[in-house]
């Protein structure tokens, strides 16, 4: 059955929908966690530490975090691979462009592919910056995420990369959430407006929530 799903264009879309929704659910939690930065370094760092002790003593130290990481990497890989293969199919299916062209679908719909690439690159930078500290400016301090976040958003490029990526994220979710509902067969005539409203609300709330952190650092609200 897994083979039949992966080999079908509709099945690959299903993989994209499910993996996308997993990532979306994670992002909601991630955004809410980020907002703890507004309650000071003790609460923010304490929250980060708690994430490592989550599930103990049933789970070993940091196991819950690693389970989440494994699931997320699997979701990203599945999402990106399906997107790449489906895009190849789509481009092959329409090799000749019309001479007379007009802009049609909404901006969010047209930017799904490049927006996805931007988000993929962002995730790599984001992990190297704030998880491993490899490209972190000003000396990465493990166990002190509050200071690390302030360091990142004290650089101009840190802010630019983050803001661009969060705008791309909002657009991606706006079309992606609604599309996932259609792919999974959850859409209907009566539910369409509600689904679009939820998609817009998720896009807006997540973008604003994430963007509030660099804006707070830039304006000195968080320092």
């Amino acid at each position: 059955m897994a083979r039949a799903v992966w080999d079908s264009s509709v099945g690959k879309k299903t993989v994209m929908a499910v993996s996308g929704l997993i990532m979306l659910a994670y992002l909601v939690v991630h955004m809410l966690g980020n907002l703890k930065i507004f309650f000071g370094s003790a609460e923010f760092n304490g929250y980060a530490h708690w994430l490592r002790t989550l599930g103990e003593p049933f789970l070993h130290h940091e196991w819950a975090l690693w389970i989440v990481r494994v699931v997320l990497v699997a979701a990203v890989v599945a999402h990106a691979t399906a997107a790449y293969q489906l895009s190849r199919r789509d481009i092959r299916a329409r090799p000749t462009k019309y001479v007379h062209t007009r802009r049609r679908a909404s901006y969010a719909t047209r930017t799904m592919r490049w927006g996805g690439v931007i988000l993929g690159l962002f995730i790599v930078w984001h992990i190297l910056d704030l998880t491993t500290g490899t490209v972190h400016p000003n000396g990465f301090q493990s166990g002190h995420p509050y200071q690390n976040v302030i360091d990142t958003f004290s650089t101009w490029y840190g802010n630019v990369i983050y803001l661009v990526a969060m705008l791309a994220l909002g657009l991606h979710i706006r079309h992606g959430f609604w599309s996932a509902a259609q792919t999974l067969g959850a859409g209907s005539r009566t539910r369409d407006r509600a689904l679009k409203a939820i998609a817009n609300a998720l896009a807006l709330v997540l973008t604003l929530g994430f963007v509030s952190v660099p804006v707070a650092v830039m304006t000195g609200v968080v320092s």
Binding site: S9, V10, T14, A93, Y98, V99, R102, A105, R189
Partner: protein, 249 residues
């Protein structure tokens, strides 16, 4: 009306094509778009040139033979078939671009004519029901709830013209296939093949080289019969259901 036409001319499937410019004069606003092309062709024949090849049949908007992408829109600016599009939708002195359906699954045969037999093969894969032929069955023998009958009829309106594929940025045939799947899957007559129909038709659609759905919604906007975008959602649901059931067997 006096118009400038820029028409895709291509001698054969394996030759290169290009847009050619023609002037047409004395066009009545009450003419259909195809009658306007007939006028152009009469002129071309009189001048000893090759007339523009285009598909047409019933010319009353029910057969699905006519096509043409007019100024970038499948079937032109009105939501109808090209044969039902009238020249009053254009202004005197306009320049109009006329192109064939563009999709690798719909190769150009000549000028504006494309080969749409990929649609026939999708129908062959599952667009049928199992019923004894011969005398018609008693009309009230199988009761169909009114909402189901309405839904089936809405999808049965699809004339298989291919405007959905032409309008889709991915050259996908999802709206066509979903119209055919939903039309039969919602009816008791279509129930015996409910699962195999959707699995086989979607598989055939993929094999024919159509693209995938990114829910841009261009197909439903272009459809002269108003097949709604949610039709694709219903087919996705049917496909998932059939895949789950096939997995259990």
């Amino acid at each position: 009306m006096k118009l400038t036409l820029r028409v895709w001319r291509q001698r054969a499937a394996d030759t290169e094509g290009a847009m050619s410019t023609y002037e047409v004069d004395d066009i009545s606003p009450d003419m259909s778009f195809l009658e306007m092309l007939d006028t152009l062709n009469e002129d071309l024949i009189l001048r000893g040139e090759d007339p523009v090849a285009f598909d047409h049949d019933c010319r009353e908007g029910i057969c699905g033979a006519c096509s043409l992408v007019i100024n970038g829109d499948a079937h032109g600016p009105e939501r109808t078939t090209t044969c039902q599009l009238h020249m009053r939708s254009f202004a005197d002195g306009d320049t109009i671009d006329v192109e064939p359906w563009r999709a690798s699954a719909f190769p150009v045969i000549k000028d504006l004519v494309v080969d749409r037999s990929a649609f026939d093969r999708i129908i062959q894969a599952g667009g049928y029901i199992t019923a004894p032929t011969g005398s018609a069955p008693e009309a009230h023998a199988t009761a169909v709830p009114k909402p189901d009958a309405d839904l089936a009829f809405e999808h049965a309106e699809c004339i298989g013209c291919g405007a959905c594929v032409a309008a889709c940025p991915n050259g996908a045939a999802m709206l066509f296939t979903s119209a055919k799947v939903n039309h039969l899957n919602v009816l008791p007559q279509g129930a015996p093949e409910r699962e195999t129909r959707v699995l086989d038709m979607v598989a055939r659609m993929d094999e024919e080289g159509f693209g995938g759905c990114t829910l841009a919604g261009e197909c439903a906007t272009a459809c002269p019969k108003g097949i709604p975008l949610v039709s694709i959602t219903h087919m996705n649901k049917e496909w998932l259901r059939a895949t789950r059931k096939a997995g259990k067997r």
